[in-house]
């Protein structure tokens, strides 16, 4: 509880600071003074920050739930191939030039996530088998990556390729309240479903057999998890493109603070995920470079070394 409150406090602070920061710094006194600053605050920065918090919360909790389910601290929503499938859906809409049509891209991204989830369930069967599930996810994510590359390859014009590649990098630039309204119900519903799995994830830390004897319905748990992940990850890809590593880093950092309990990890991971994305997006905005660094790229630059560090740490522990 105290951890949740501190994280919430930090998030509120980060959001306030984030309202100030940008190419033009706007002091709090000027937020609602004059047309231009108030426009920047209410129509540019605030929706962007809200979206960052939503995406971060959804990805953070997705990571916590996935790591708990797979009992693997290296799991990330990308592993299931769900974000790759969502990206493929979005990219396909750009390829066919319909991305200008309102809602076409998000609908395609969600459809991609949904299709990915359904394929995953078909491949892994109803057994709820862990290994089968992971392998199906790995297969699916490489398939989606291959098809995405094919779409880029076949893009009709260099402009289309460039648009796809830019979009794939993931960003919160120029997002509006409409995007927030799109992501909000998806993320909230997804997180609600994931929260239902929390106590079952605790039982799973004693292994499949023990968990089943403790009343966990493996197939039902898998259904909840897959649906919750699709909504959170699909929703975030629909509005922000692919932003990786949030689901990997956040639960790992929070875990020791909650006594390593998978159920206790869920809400703090959502809060810390929101915090991470809001702060990273603020850094991206104030970085003194000519063209803005894409948030997805920034996250990967932070995330990849973190992943490496984690691997080295695990290798030491095994040795």
């Amino acid at each position: 509880m105290r951890l949740n409150l501190s994280l919430l406090g930090a998030l509120v602070l980060a959001i306030l600071l984030s309202l100030l920061a940008g190419r033009h710094w706007i002091a709090p006194g000027e937020w609602l003074a004059g047309d231009l600053p108030s426009l920047i605050i209410t129509q540019l920065r605030l929706p962007r920050i809200c979206l960052g918090a939503l995406v971060g919360a959804g990805l953070g909790m997705s990571g916590a739930a996935m790591q708990g389910y797979l009992r693997n601290p290296l799991a990330d929503p990308g592993l299931f191939g769900i974000s790759a499938c969502a990206a493929l859906g979005a990219v396909t809409s750009i390829f066919f030039g319909v991305s200008g049509v309102p809602m076409a891209l998000p609908v395609c991204a969600l459809a991609g996530a949904g299709a990915g989830v359904m394929l995953l369930v078909l491949l892994a069967g109803r057994s709820g088998s862990l290994i089968l599930f992971t392998l199906a996810g790995v297969m699916l994510s490489s398939l989606a990556a291959a098809l995405t590359a094919l779409v880029i390859n076949l893009a009709p014009t260099p402009f289309a390729s460039a648009e796809i590649i830019t979009w794939l990098m993931g960003a919160l630039t120029d997002r509006s309240w409409n995007d927030v309204l799109l992501a909000l119900p998806l993320t909230v519903a997804g997180m609600g479903l994931l929260m239902l799995t929390a106590s079952q994830l605790d039982a799973l830390s004693l292994g499949d057999l023990a968990a089943r004897s403790m009343g966990v319905d493996m197939a039902g748990l898998q259904r909840l998890l897959v649906l919750g992940l699709a909504l959170c990850v699909g929703g975030s890809v629909a509005v922000a493109g692919v932003i990786g590593f949030v689901g990997l880093m956040v639960p790992h950092l929070v875990r020791p603070l909650v006594g390593h309990r998978p159920s206790a990890l869920m809400i703090p991971s959502a809060l810390a995920g929101a915090l991470l994305v809001v702060v990273a997006d603020m850094l991206v905005r104030v970085a003194p470079v000519v063209s803005e660094i894409r948030l997805g790229v920034m996250m990967s630059v932070l995330g990849a070394p973190f992943f490496l560090m984690l691997l080295l740490k695990m290798r030491r522990e095994i040795a």
Binding site: R71, A198, S199, D202, A203, L204, S205, L206, G207, L209, A210, R212, S213, M214, G215, V216, D217, R255, G259, H260, R261, P262, S263
Partner: protein, 255 residues
């Protein structure tokens, strides 16, 4: 007493086209220790898994107090039947106390633990002699310590039935005897204890009832002194056992 029994009939399990358990029936009573004995691959674990409700038989039924096991809610089943798997897995670095607290899941249904739950956890930690490890993290324990902590997890749930699959595997002799004694005491307190054992003398020490299995079939099923005989044991294990009387205690020595 009938209502409290765990009965199974015509259980069959097939895996990879091979019959693991073929058409066995039996009737287990509460307030007693039942040992399941048999050579490797006899189907002992499969039988225990089915009784615990974690595996479904291809055919046959299990009745808990007269009601088919499948008709109970998962939570009620979890509350009434505690199962200790053979392989003790722990995946996160949980504190021993919160690991044992997981044993109360069937009672607390995901809510935080009540005072009654906490008391049950403390009692279970004491019963398996691991109170001093309460604040240690599970991944830092030795094999024997972990085995006792995992037993405490099941005991904390105070189940009507305690099903344990080779619970003595990684224990030293002193803790083996302590765990056997704990199992016997759990049965005296009214629970049904069903335990898969490898050591015939361990079974002779605590079992009231013995189920002897071989190749998925039940070779014998009855009171311990009737089943634990050199002839039946030889039929099961293909080894001749000599019965030694050690001051009133029956000991079996393989020849």
């Amino acid at each position: 007493m009938m209502a409290a029994a765990l009965a199974f009939s015509d259980l069959t399990v097939r895996k990879g086209g091979r019959a693991i358990v073929c058409g066995i029936s039996g009737h287990l009573k509460r307030g007693a220790v039942t040992a399941i004995l048999g050579p490797n691959g006899a189907g002992k674990s499969s039988l225990l898994h089915i009784l615990a409700g974690v595996e479904q038989p291809r055919s046959g039924t299990v009745l808990l107090g007269g009601a088919p096991l499948g008709t109970l809610s998962a939570q009620e089943r979890a509350r009434r039947i505690g199962f200790l798997p053979q392989k003790g897995e722990v995946h996160w670095n949980l504190a021993v106390k919160s690991l044992v607290g997981l044993g109360r899941m069937g009672h607390s249904a995901g809510r935080s633990l009540s005072q009654e739950d906490e008391a049950a956890v403390v009692a279970a930690l004491a019963a398996t002699d691991v109170t001093h490890l309460s604040d240690r993290s599970a991944l830092s324990l030795s094999g024997g310590e972990l085995a006792r902590v995992l037993l405490a997890r099941v005991l904390a749930g105070a189940p009507e039935w305690l099903l344990a699959d080779e619970p003595l595997g990684s224990l030293d002799p002193a803790h083996q005897l302590a765990v056997l004694k704990r199992l016997a005491m759990t049965a005296r307190a009214g629970a049904g204890v069903v335990v898969v054992l490898h050591d015939i003398n361990h079974a002779a020490r605590i079992a009231d009832h013995v189920v002897l299995m071989k190749d998925g079939a039940m070779l014998a099923d009855g009171a311990a002194q009737d089943v634990l005989t050199p002839d039946l044991l030889e039929a099961a294990f293909s080894v001749r056992f000599r019965l030694v009387n050690d001051g009133g205690r029956r000991l079996f020595v393989a020849e």
